[in-house]
Every structure is written in structure tokens, then in C-alpha cells.
């Protein structure tokens, strides 16, 4: 089984951490996004959507991290503990509810803050307009509020006592703006405690390994600036920043 990944990307991290945490063997195929590798011809043959992560299991190719995570949990159900994607009706519904909500909320808002802080000045050649940044940070704040008040509440994990795919997908998105030096967990002891629990469940070493590149943004930014792919990537980013 091959996993096409760039660990700077949140959905790649959730797939990476899950596969490693539950002991599913895979071949790590790097797709360096800052070098525009997703736009290469060889990658187009794997996936016409040109995004990561992508899973290739034999001849079966699958995109979308949520689909990949569920596929791996189902395929390896005899060895993957039930709590990751519980069979019980209501618990499973809670996982699905989070996995659905997060696309347009924590994922979208965390990504936007990350892109504005890490990429905007590089791409646009100027500082982010204050209004734009404030609005993005406010949206992220609202998503984090819902994560705490609706999804976590007073439980150790989103579903209850045990970690599930929901917590994994949530934590990697939460970490994205943190990679730009923005402490989104400041003043949120509940989320800090939850993040630490998740870290402990998957293993600190694995968690840190997954987030190493993200936490080293300056070297990534340097790579981008010195790369010929920059000219090609610039207009694509500019579209996001309009």
C-alpha cells in the first residue's frame, strides 16, 4: 500500500499518524507541495484532482483523507481497535458528525490562518491587510469554541472515553496555525488538556515526527522562494488570497 503524502498538509498527517499508530504498513511517497510536485505528470496519473493525501492499495486509488481513514479502519478491522471508528450506532454517528462538520469549519479556518501567515507575504509581496487577518482569526476562534463547547464538552475525547478518528482529524487541523507561531491554544486549558491526551494516545514521538516539517516553516518558506515552481504556484495562491 502506498501513501502519497506531504506532512505539511493536515489531512496527510492524520492519515500518516493513524497508519503508524495502528501498525498498518505502507510505502511513504513524498509529494512536495512547496515544489509544486502535485502538478507533475506522474502525479496526474495517480490522481487527476492533484491533491494529497492519495492512497494506492494495489490498483485501487483513493483520495480524501476521511475516506482513506475509514477505508483503512474497515480493511484492517480485525487489528484496528474498535474505538477508532466505533461500530456502535450513536458513537459512530458522533465521529461522522465531527468528520463532516470540520471541512468547512476548523479545517477551512485553520488553513486560511496558516496560508495568510505563512504564504501571503511571500506570494503577494506585502503584509496581510489587518482586516483580512482579523477576520480569519475570528473565524478560527469560533470554530475552536464549537470544538470545545459542542464536540468535546466535558469528555476526554470527542466521542467519549476513547480516542477516535475525529480527535486525530481535529488535532492535525488545530496544529496548522500553530506552525506559524500562532498559539491558538492560549487561554484554552480544555483544548490543551485534550491535545495532550491525543498526543499521549498516538505516542509523543509519532506526533512530533508528523509535525516536524510544519513546525519548521521558515526552512519551508526558504525552499519556496528558491524554487522554480514558485512562478507556477504564485497565481494559484493569489486566487486563494483574493
Amino acid at each position: 500500500m502506498e501513501l502519497y503524502l506531504d506532512l505539511v498538509s493536515q489531512p496527510c498527517r492524520s492519515v500518516f499518524v493513524f497508519a503508524k499508530a495502528v501498525g498498518i504498513p505502507f510505502e511513504f511517497k513524498v509529494v512536495a507541495l512547496v515544489e509544486g510536485q502535485q502538478y507533475r505528470e506522474e502525479f496526474a496519473k495517480i490522481s487527476m484532482i492533484r491533491k494529497v493525501p492519495v492512497m494506492k492499495d494495489g490498483s485501487f486509488v483513493l483520495t480524501e483523507s476521511v475516506a482513506i481513514l475509514k477505508y483503512l479502519a474497515q480493511k484492517h478491522s480485525s487489528s484496528v481497535a474498535d474505538h477508532w471508528y466505533p461500530a456502535e450506532l450513536r458513537q459512530r454517528a458522533r465521529v461522522n458528525e465531527y468528520l463532516s462538520w470540520q471541512h468547512m469549519n476548523l479545517r477551512a479556518h485553520g488553513s486560511k490562518v496558516f496560508l495568510l501567515r505563512a504564504m501571503f507575504p511571500l506570494i503577494m509581496g506585502s503584509e496581510v491587510p489587518k482586516e483580512k487577518m482579523d477576520a480569519a482569526v475570528e473565524d478560527l476562534k469560533l470554530s475552536l469554541n464549537l470544538l470545545e463547547e459542542k464536540f468535546l464538552q466535558d469528555k476526554p475525547f470527542i466521542v467519549g472515553d476513547k480516542i477516535s478518528l475525529a480527535d486525530l482529524v481535529a488535532v492535525v487541523e488545530l496544529m496548522q496555525p500553530v506552525g506559524t507561531g500562532l498559539d491558538v491554544l492560549e487561554g484554552r486549558p480544555k483544548l490543551i488538556a485534550w491535545r495532550d491526551r491525543v498526543k499521549q494516545e498516538v505516542g509523543e514521538e509519532l506526533f512530533d515526527e508528523a509535525h516536524e516539517q510544519l513546525m519548521n516553516m521558515s526552512s519551508l518558506q526558504e525552499k519556496m522562494q528558491n524554487n522554480s515552481a514558485m512562478e507556477m504556484l504564485k497565481p494559484k495562491f493569489q486566487m486563494l488570497f483574493k
Partner: protein
Amino acid sequence: MWAGREPSESATETPAQTRGHRRGAVMALELYLDLNSQPCRSVYIFATKNNVPFEFKKLNLLEGEQYGEEFGKINLIRKAPALRDGDFCLAESIAILLYLAEKFKTPDYWYPADLHQRARVNEYLSWQHMTIRLQGSKVFWLQLLIPKILGADVPQDKLDAALEDLNASLTLLEDKFIQDKPFIAGDHITLADLVAIVEVMQPVGAGVDVFEGRAKLSAWRDRVQAAIGEELFDEAHKTILGAQESVKLMDASKLQFFKPKILKLFM
């Protein structure tokens, strides 16, 4: 407030609503729905098609009913659809569809147990949030509701950009998801097609013919309609297809409440 439907609607009580009320001895499952909303339509169609006993709780989104105190107890996210099954409340149409499929043991083809087929359904259900769902909504708002709220036309370049994005996604729907198959996951309709069709219909409600020049998409739509049942499909889409008319009659001042949020999201 939502004891059922408003009196004005009882004359046109739908078969599903009748079914839901007839079995009302045991506390029925409640579905909070506004059929102007795409994810509400997929849930409505699925529950009705599969004879799931439910009570239709109408939620009028443009009237801001999702912000009421009672609804907040059911869904803190304050969106529709929402489900209440006894003491269990659930948000997010995809989670609701999967919950209903499992609880009521709907026919396997909707969400196949087969590993690969299920993955294809999950893949579409995940991809669609930030693409067709977002872009179809945007076109609908820009075309129909925002001009009403602003009292002026939306800049053409904004409309064009939104249409371009939607078109790119429709092309991917045709070329990557449907390809040469009858339905997204293969030979049979699944939740993926259901979720896709209700989203694709949204811009149609605003007068944008997304099927024009798209033979593959049109043929797929016909198959999906047939699989759902034309009567049910039409019933579910009656409200949205009448949107252009009802927006004309709408009181623009009532919509001002949504102005800041909508402008932020779509402009």
C-alpha cells in the same frame, strides 16, 4: 413553535408527513428541515424513500428560526438538517444519512458494505463539502439572495468567478466521479449520488442551468431521478425551484440580519 407544519401547509401534506404522524404513538424520530437547503433535501428524500418513520419539523432558515433557544438545545451548530431521536441529537446531513441507513437497515446499495464501493461513496461525500456544495451555494446566493439583500446587482466579475469555480467542479463530477458509470460508485445509486444531485439542483433554483451543454451530467441526473422516483424528487425540489418567485415577494428588510455573515462568506 415547531409543533409540526404551519396550518397553511396542511392542505398539501406530503405522503411522508402523513406516514410520520400516523405512527406517532411512540415518540417518532424528528427531522428538522428546511427544503430550501440542499442537505435537508438529501435527508428528506432518503428518509421518505426508505419509509423511515419521522416527524417533519419545519425550520425556516431565512426567518432565523435556527437561532431560537429551543433549537440551540437540539443543535448548537445552529444549522439544518438536525435529527432528534429520543434523547439523541445529531447534526450534519452526512452523519444523519449514515445513522438512518444503519438504524433502519436500508438496502445495502445506498451505502454498500463492500470495501471499495463504500470507499468511493465516502470519497465523494468528503470531496463535495468544499467544492460543489460551497460553490453551488455561492452561485445561488450571488445570483438570487445577495442582490435582494444589497438592493443592487452583484459585480459581474464576482458572479463569473463563482460560476467558473462551480463549472470546474461539475467537470470533475463528470470526469472523475461519474466517468462512464451509471452512478458514482458503479451500477447502483448510492448516498453519493443523492448528496450530489441536491447540491447540483441549488443553482438551478436560482435560474442557472448547470445541465446545459453537459450531456453526461444530464443523463446521470435522469437516472438519479428515476432511481429516487420522480414524484419524490419533484416534491423535495418544489420549494427551491420556486425560489426565484418567492424571493421577488420577500421583504428585503427581513434579510438584513444575514447581511454581515453572508457578505463575509460570499463576497
